[in-house]
Structures are given as C-alpha cells and as structure tokens.
Symmetry: C2
Subunit: 386 residues, 2 copies
C-alpha cells in the first residue's frame, strides 16, 4: 500500500425526505443562492417547488439547462452569475453533470480569466464558493468528491478538473428521487458506479485489502440491486443501496494507496467529447473490450480474483478460463440492464478514432498504467467496440 | 436501510513518515500545544524526540501517563492544563486510550464543572479544542471518530461519551510505529477492530449491503493480517492493512443506517470498569460466548452469512451447522492470536457480575437490541466466560 491522504469532509444526509435539512445546512452561509439544475425534470417531479418553499427568505438566482457532459460555456454562465449576484452558496440539484458544473462555477467565481483555463490547469482552482448538492441520479459519485468533468465542444475535449476546495460541503441523497428515472439512466448510473470500482480494482496492489474489498462490494451491490431497480423502479432498498454504493465507489476509499491512471474513463471521455453519449453507456461498451485487451499473464491474479469474488465463479478451474468467464459475465450483466454493447448501436463510427486515441493517451497518461496503452492499443480497443 | 447522516471530516495521513506533515497541520492553530501521551513508549521508540524536533517553535505543555482505560481524573488534569495554558490544539500521541482522553480534555477546557459530568451527559460537550492524533496502536478507531470511553474508578463506571466537535481534525497513521508493539497489544487491537465490525454486522438489516460488506472486509482483513503481524512484527503490509481496516471499522461506515446497541462492548465496559483489563482482550473473551448465546432462529441468516462470507464455510450444509462452525472458527482464531479465552485466565471471578449485569443493561440499553438481553442473560454470558 502506498502512502496516502484521505480527506473527505462532505456531510451526507441520506434517506427519504432528507431535503428538509436544507435550511439548516444553508444557514451556515449567506442569503444569495445559485440554484443549478438541468433540463427541468426537477420541475416535473415537484422537487423544484419543494426546494423553493424550503428556501423561503433566500434570494435564489437560477442557472438552469446544465446539459449532460456539461459544456464549459454553461459553466462560464454560472460563474458569471456567481460574480454578478454575489452568490454565497451554490445549490446543485441533479445528477453528476449538474454537480460537476456547479463545482467549477464556484471556482470560476474567484477567477477573472476564461473558465476553460481552470479545466486545462486545475491548479488555478483555489477558493470555491461552498457547494451543496441534492442528488437525483446516482452513479458519478460527484456528490462526495472533488472532481468535475467538463466538455469543450469547440475543441472536442472532455477533461477532468478539481481542487482541494471543490468538495461539496454537504450532499442530500434521497433514493426516492431516483424512482422516476428513465430505465436507461438507472442502467447508466449503475454502470458508472461499477466502472469506478473496476478502474481502481485493476490497479493491482495485492496489499490494499480494504480498498479492493470495497471495490468488490460496490460491484456486487450494483450486480444485486441494479436489476431490482430496473424491474421495480420504486423499490426503496434497491435505490438506496445503489445510491450509497455509488457514493462510496468514488469518494476516495476504493482508490487510496493505489496510484495509476484510469484507462476506461480516459477513452470514454474522448467518445463523449466528440459525440452526445451518456457517460455510463460509453463505459459499459468499453469495459468488456478493455478487459479482454488487458488480459495478460501479469494481470491474471486480478482477473481470477474478479471472477471468483465478484461473479462467484468456481475457483477450481484454470486461471484463464476463470478470466474469460468473468468477462463474459460482465457483458451478460450489462446486456441484462438493456445497455447498448457496441458503438454502432449508439451511432458512433470510426471517423474520429485516431484523434481520440491520441488525446486519450495524452490526457489519461495511459502509457503509465500497470498495463500501458499506446495510441495503437486504444485504436484497437475502439475498433473492437464497433 | 434507515435514514442516516455520515459526517466524518478527519484528515487521514497514512503511511511511513507521515509524521513530517505535523507542522503543516498544526500551523492551522495557535502555538500552544498540549502533548498527550501514555506510559512513555513513545520516548523509548524515539517518536517523542521526532515530534519535539518537528514542533520547534511551538510551546509544548505535556500531559503524560494517560493510562489504558483512561481515568476521569487524568482527563480532568488535561482539561485543567488546557485552561491554565491557553492551549490551541491537542496533540494526542498513542493508542485509543490517549486519543479518547484527549478528546474529552479538549471538551473539558470549555466546561467549568467536573469532567465526569461530560461523560455522564454527553450533551454537555459543545466546543472542543482541535485534536490531532498520531496513532501508535490500531484497534479502537478513535483516530477517526467522535467517541471516547472514560473510566471512573471510584464509581466503577466505564462509559462512552462524545460530541459533534469531538472528531479529530487530523490523524497520522504510520504502520511502522506498530512494529514494536508487544504481541498481546497487536492481538488486542486486532480483536477490537474485529469486534467493531461484528457488533454492526449482527444488527441485522438485510438491506445495508455496503455496510455489511465493509464489516466483512474488516473481519477478513483482521483474519488475514493479524497472524502475519504477530509472526513477522515488521511486515509493513500486514501492519498497514490492519491499521486501515481498524480505522474503517469504526469511522461510521459499518454502522450507518443500522441502528441498535452494541451488546459486547456494553458488557466489556463493565469488566474493565471493575478490573484492569485490556479492552480488546475482554472483547475476545466475550464475543464467542455472546455469539453462542444469541444463536436463535431469528438471527440464523446473519450467522450463516457470517460463516460463509467471513470464514469461508461451505454453504451447502444446514444453517445451524454453519453457525456453530462459525463460532468455533472465531474461537480458534482468537486462540491462534494467543488471546486469553476465559475470564479466569485474566484473574476475574464472579464477585461483581450482578452489579456488572445491571449496569450493562442500563448503560448499554441491551433490552432494546434485536435480540434483547436482560440482567439474567448478561449474568449467564459472564458466567460462561469463566
């Protein structure tokens, strides 16, 4: 286990009706609130009205229409609102895109240059307006970490950023908000959480026991509860366990003491930089192909552990057989969630693969992985995804 | 899963030589430091000198000789030092006893009455002087939670307390400090961590997946690494994994959303209120007997899960057989750590059992458990431990 710092102060208010604590949380700050949200599903669900009622007495400035894979222009708009309205606290109501965008808006309020600078160079992120989130879609883990992924559609770049002060002050996770999600969003969120565990799991430090056990637990929680949530959308326990597993998948605990880049995310970011693709869906297409590609002798012990501990495969078989069964089970599982399994199904062809491969290796430092990937490797993976 | 709040902001600096960050941590506070420690092992190991050197320029006031099962009189002494020396930050260097004591000293600095009041009535704990800990013995988890257990030897009461502000600001966990521990301390710390997982695990909420998986991971980490640490005391990976498992066992994650009292701890607190008994050793004696006592039909599913998931028992057997094997394996494991398995071995007889049983049920609210225990039950458990 490598040395590490674990530092995660986000206060989690988990469960039904926890939104009622909002006034108690926000009273720690001033009266000017930037309310950040997406396409309006919170208006249809009634959550918008509930929040406005709870925040009676506050001055609410709205920053709506944050898109999936949030654009830097949207973040710029939010940062400008923070400045012009002297915002004291940002309330992000939505999924990972909304929370990601809100974090960088809060940083941009303290920066005079264009917001994209802070994505290119995260060290420009210093002070951040306090962020409070109300999560409506689990998966990204953004409610309990410092990261944001922002897309520049002009440059076709989707890139992560974040600073020490980007962590949400508090997040409200009410599983009932997820009961009305479209099935494909439930599936995408589940695959996203699964992917965070798998990226940390395949970093291969055999002596990071708790980290790996937690990754396995996240994957097993997704395997158990995602199908229930799809079959019975209002099953509270399924929604609750999916949500809590998603938060724990990316709050630092699965990754501390195990350094290394995240290959699948780096490649997926390229796909959705060029195409309007749901992040979790892109991950689901890439993961099985990537697993097949890195299935080499050196990583075999992790594949065997993955197969036995996560998928319950009988350990009394040769390693290679266990590994292939594990990959097959991964594919079958994503398929059972009705997730697309090829890029062709989501209308992505090979047009931009070369540029994507180049950028993925560079931005994701994929050549530094335990199993390093170069541009040709990424091209092969992308082509296999067609 | 019940609604919960998870709120744990302790910054963990984990790994070899992390003590070097101390000046960077302490510069957030003033110059007056109360250095709290135990019997002097930190002087023998050289850690004391290292810390004084790192804190050159600070005014260090010492509060030494904090005993295992720290006494309220010691805590009072520390609180008085905080007041008389205008202490800005408390640096607790030691195991759980030292950190437990430091937290209540820091609270006592803001209270004019006798310190024992704040143990009897935790709601009296409001402001707390910031606590920074350097952990030298893993097990209690005190480095990453709000709790303290303080003993009043005049009244023969050992009781938990803690407030919202009792959480350490930061904790340094360097596994190399644990390489020189006496074997019985390593064993006691390991059993303590195991016990925290098992107390939360046997609360029986079948839909707290991540919590239970984390408890299982803690127990499996202890089962894997404690024997290695005993056989090879300087094995870094064994010490590191034991340490991190111990912190995660009691930082809130294994218990959130699963309410209920902790039966074994309540009974053990009585044993060490009356006798000079190492907490982890008392727990190791009690756990197997308690498990046998609560082995009823209602809890059978948890026993089966415990046997299969934690001990790797073949699931294709009748439930009762799995449960008994699981208890046997627990006993064998504690025995393999050379932990005493009876109260007789640690020179405790039945003299105070009646008073202990009465107090345990009252302070531990044991009659509110899923499997409620009354005074007679506790008496039976204690007698079986002889």
């Amino acid at each position: 286990m490598d040395n590490f710092v674990f530092d995660n102060a986000t206060k989690i208010y988990f469960g039904k009706d926890q939104v009622k604590v909002l006034p108690t949380i926000l009273e720690n700050f001033g009266k000017n609130v930037l309310l950040v949200y997406g396409g309006g599903s919170i208006k249809r669900s009634g959550l918008y009205d509930t929040i406005l009622e709870l925040l009676n007495g506050y001055t609410i400035i709205e920053c709506a229409n944050v898109e999936p894979n949030p654009h830097h222009t949207t973040v710029q708009r939010g940062a400008d609102l923070c400045k012009s309205h002297h915002i004291d606290v940002i309330l992000a109501v939505g999924g990972g895109s909304v929370i990601d965008a809100a974090k960088v808006m809060g940083a941009g309020a303290f920066y005079d240059g264009p917001i994209w600078d802070m994505v290119v160079n995260p060290s420009l992120i210093k002070e951040v307006i306090p962020i409070v989130s109300v999560l409506t879609l689990s998966g990204t883990g953004s409610e309990m970490n410092r990261g944001s992924v922002i897309t520049n559609t002009e440059l076709n770049i989707k890139k992560g950023t974040g600073g020490q002060n980007s962590l949400p002050y508090a997040s409200i996770i009410d599983p009932t908000y997820m009961m009305t999600l479209p099935p494909i969003q439930t599936a995408a969120g589940a695959i996203d959480a699964f992917s965070h565990a798998i990226e940390n799991y395949f970093k291969a430090d055999n002596d990071a026991f708790m980290q790996d056990a937690l990754s396995e637990a996240v994957m097993k929680a997704v395997i158990k509860y995602a199908p229930i949530a799809l079959k019975e959308p209002t099953n509270y326990q399924a929604r609750a366990n999916l949500a809590w597993a998603s938060s724990l998948a990316l709050n630092g605990l699965t990754g501390v003491g195990k350094p290394g880049p995240w290959a699948v995310h780096a490649i997926e970011h390229e796909l959705s930089a060029y195409h309007d693709l749901t992040h979790g869906i892109g991950l689901g297409i890439l993961i099985p192909v990537w697993l097949g590609f890195i299935l080499e002798q050196e990583l075999m012990p992790i594949f065997v552990r993955y197969g036995v501990n996560v998928w319950g495969i009988n350990p009394n078989q040769d390693d290679s057989s266990i590994a292939y069964q594990a990959i097959d089970k991964t594919i079958e599982f994503f398929k059972s969630l009705n997730a697309p399994l090829t890029l062709t199904e989501v209308n992505i062809d090979s047009t931009h693969f070369a540029a994507m491969a180049k950028s993925a290796v560079k931005l994701g430092r994929l050549n530094q992985h335990l199993f390093p990937l170069d541009e040709n490797d990424v091209m092969m993976i992308l082509n296999q995804c067609l």
